[in-house]
Amino acid sequence: MSLIGAKVLRKEDPNLITGQGQYVDDLQPAGCAFMAMVRSTEPHARIVAIDTSAAKAIDGVLAVWTHADIAALPARPSSLPGMDMPLITGDVARFVGDIVAVVVAADRYTAADAAEAIIVDYESLPAVASLSQALAPDAPMIHPVLQGNTVFFQDYTEDLSAEFAAAPRTASLSLVNNRCAPAPIEPNVVLADWGPAGLTVWAAFQAPHHLRNTIAAFFGISQDTTRVIAPDVGGGFGAKINFASEIFLAAALSRALGRPVKYTQTRSECMVAMFHGRAQEHKVDVAFDDSGKILALKVQVTQDQGAYPDATGMGLPVLTTAMSAGCYKIPKVAVSWRNVVTNTTPVAAYRGAGRPEASYMIERVIDLIADETGVDPIEVRKTNFIPADGFPYQTHSPLAVYDSGNFAGALDELLRHADYPALKAEQAARLADPRAKLLGIGFASWLEIAGFGPPGSLEAFGHLASWESAQVRVQPDGSAIIYTGASPHGQGTVTTFAQIAADQLGIDFDRISVRHGDTAVIPQGIGTMGSRAVAVGGEGVKTASTRVFERAKKIAAHLLEATEDDIVVENEEFHVRGTPSKSVPWSQVAWKSFQPLELPAGMEPGSLDATVFQQVPNFSFPSGAYCCVVEIDRETGDVDIRNMYLVDDCGTVINPMLVEGQVHGGVAQGIAQALYEHMQYDESGVPRTATLMDYLVPAAPDLPGYVSGRTVTLNPSNTLGAKGVGESGSVGAPPAVINAVVDALSHLGVKHIDMPATPQKIWSILRGSK
């Protein structure tokens, strides 16, 4: 029986739910010292002087470093030339959270005391706190090389003025994709131990080999004596592929002090120091006809990069503009983007990274067209969908060749769960009853680009390559260990990869272990991001398992004196097809695979061991259709999500429970962006939402129950047929929620409301209508 699609309990859970997980902060080597940061409290300021004398005098303080102490080291990796982010900033602090000084002490309390004892003399400089401030004619400069604060500008890829002039109808929309803080439960944590034998770094990170390669290059040391370990990692959401300065500082200080150095971000630090996500503004123009058919689309994206542009973060608007057409066949699409610096926390990948922004934009546009034409939003979607037989589909972007999908099928499946006519009737009845809450119905047919794996796709972001590694090693007793480079941070990879291997090997799921996260143990690796673990790494496990199984079959055939083609495996027994009595157990095949005298001619001992660097020819394109039903309190403006119907198409499902978990988590973050979360700065650049009291990460009672459905179109780029599902919910949920909120208020003439749709915003609209 195949384990693909089986509801197998997670192998990870017994450890994690009994508190036996090992996170970096749990590690406490002998002699461990603790690092603490002095961070800029100014958005933009010249640093006139730093008085470290009182801190240095505190008993137990081992080191106090300022910029001068790291001047010989390179800037934070993934910086842009001329706009580098120093590990400790020098003359100028450029955002609240910028590291100004570092303290190491014998314990973390003394380190915190010492950090507080450091006196920084700032001379405030004019700051730019927003995109509009940054792009104003006389805007203050953040980097001397950058007149006007625009790091990169791509003008519209095509001139569509003729198409717009000829179109029966046009409309425009300005959208803000609100800045979010990733806020994983575990913040950035690092422990560095630099001894005579080399450097070991334990880090809460999504791509340990990538970090190992980068650390070695940063310090000019050899990769063979540089070891990175990502043990249990408590969530990352893309923010833990960023090279946090603290990682390199901990290593440098460990080298200087000759003892292990640990650093655990506090929540307050995490909110301003861990790179943010989203932070885009869109200007959209669309041309269409009376039936709602889209004729042309123009999208201009302005990306806030924060104070120091990150190389990965620079790619966000590239992904947004590549995916701007969504599920729709749009004859002409022109895109433009601009990357801009501001005196705020740097912006980079956050769950979905550029694609939720695209999906939000195009799904708002669809509802706007419905509103303008009076055609039902469902019909507008169906009118414009790429048909199920229209794949592969070359979009306006060379990056995106959609491989497969059935967008109308997913929407039909959604409407089997959500009774649209009944909801419409209820909506009308409530509208007529002034005491009833308003009802809003919102749809999103979404699509994203995932499965980052085709050659060149990750190299563009500084990775070694885009494959993923998998090694399958059968042990002498017939159990197996899988080594994967796709180091997880909550995905359940240990379970799904064992399911995949069990199917191919015919070895019991309970006798397969999956190892990850240690560069000294895993051959090589890339990492877990961009919903690639199963689509690329899982496919690698399948390929390697198949290779091992073919060799095992050879050995079994030799032992059974049969031909290889007749050998089958069942219940961990190899036997000759049709002759179950003639059999040899897996354990014996495994044992003998190490014994030269037992092997067929030409076979080497230890051959039940295969390493694969799995390549895939294309990205994957998970898609789906969501429906959100909201109730709005007419007196308070409060929005309550009553129903959330979710149809996902992630291709082949390895473990339905894990897919559901990923969808629920992603949808929760999408709802959070739509209704709750917004990292805000005041006019001067001081963060206003730097604690979890002010930055509203919703809790379980704030989220609705979900009704889930599924369609399956296979991913043609791998043999599993799996597309990836890690980011889906965060891509599909925001437009579904906002479309529902706008729908509930559309009788008042509301055409758009920016995220998050707060009660006060909605109350203002309701009050204005009276």
């Binding site: 603490a36 940061m37 961070r39 973390r108 309390y109 915190a112 005391d113 507080e116 506090t266 929540r267 307050s268 630090e269 007196e635 308070t636 409060d638 709750y676 805000q680 206003r688 939402t689 604690t691 009291m693 002010d694 509203l696 990460v697 919703p698 809790a699 009672p701 704030d702 707060t758 009660p759 006060q760 109350w763 203002s764 009050r767």
Partner: protein, 275 residues
């Protein structure tokens, strides 16, 4: 930046007398009960007391006593105990109800009624119950006990009438057996502090009190008077924000808060049985 408090000394008090003695002998000491208001402030280094006097083990300050005319609730009684107390549910049902809405279960299992009141946070739930029901605070100092009406207890932002060498030891709630009540708490995220809250106590001596409508917990005086005078719910609700100076923050400006106070007052009045 957060999470790591400055150095402090820690002392345990076994009785009110011992706690008073320690308070008098230590400079800049703070009492530690449930710690759910104080410890976060210490972690942010917004306060750095030299000494924490842990009173959480003082048995005489725990539990609910029915004295006949009032319910006397020991200052160290945890929210969870108040929430689940049959005697509280019977005689001061508003208190039992609101105790069950403080924070989340972890907070309710740890936090104490006295700690919540003496912190004087205008956004906290329980001060509104004390004000709406007309409770009396029992404060103990070197000179013995003194009683302070709830209306005189909340002095300024995070400041109460408890003196530096005094301890809030009990709260006496007049019985409101069989009377209606209502509590409306408006939040964006569940388990948060109220953006605005309204407590209504019905009965012979009705009262309406507001949460987060100014720098101190306060009664809605005009609305309470109108209610006592027999005005209808709409008229009473319209007066809810009268005389308030509500704070402005990311969740709500002053106008929105005034509006919410009125909407919530009406809902709480309806819940309390007024029509």
């Amino acid at each position: 930046m957060g999470m790591i408090p400055a150095r402090f000394d820690y002392r345990q008090a076994g009785s009110v007398a011992e706690a008073l003695q320690l308070l008098a002998s230590c400079d800049d000491a703070k009492l530690l009960a449930g710690g759910h208001s104080l410890v976060p402030l210490m972690k942010m280094r917004l306060v750095s007391p030299s000494t924490l006097i842990d009173i959480s083990g003082i048995a005489e300050l725990q539990g609910v006593t029915d004295t006949g005319s009032v319910l006397r609730v020991g200052a160290l009684t945890r929210h969870r105990v108040v929430e689940r107390s049959q005697v509280v549910a019977q005689h001061v049902p508003l208190l039992a109800h609101v105790a069950g809405l403080v924070g989340d279960p972890q907070v309710r299992n740890r936090g104490t009624i006295g700690g919540s009141l003496v912190h004087g946070d205008p956004a906290a739930d329980l001060p509104s119950v004390a004000l709406a029901t007309g409770a009396t605070m029992v404060v103990t100092g070197a000179a013995g006990e003194r009683r302070i009406a709830a209306a005189d207890f909340f002095v300024d932002f995070l400041e109460t009438a408890v003196g530096p060498d005094e301890i809030l030891t009990a709260i006496e709630f007049p019985k409101r057996t069989g009377a209606g009540f209502g509590y409306e708490k408006f939040v964006r995220r569940s388990m948060d502090y109220a953006i605005v809250g309204v407590a209504v106590q019905a009965g012979d001596q009705p009262g309406i009190a507001l949460v987060n409508m100014g720098s101190v917990p306060r009664r809605a005086d005009a609305a309470s008077q109108a209610l006592a005078g027999g005005a209808g719910v709409d008229a009473v609700a319209a007066l809810a924000a009268e005389g308030t100076n509500p704070p402005e923050d990311l969740n709500a400006n002053a106008d929105y808060r005034r509006h919410l106070a009125s909407v919530l007052t009406k809902r709480a009045l309806l819940a309390a049985g007024y029509r």
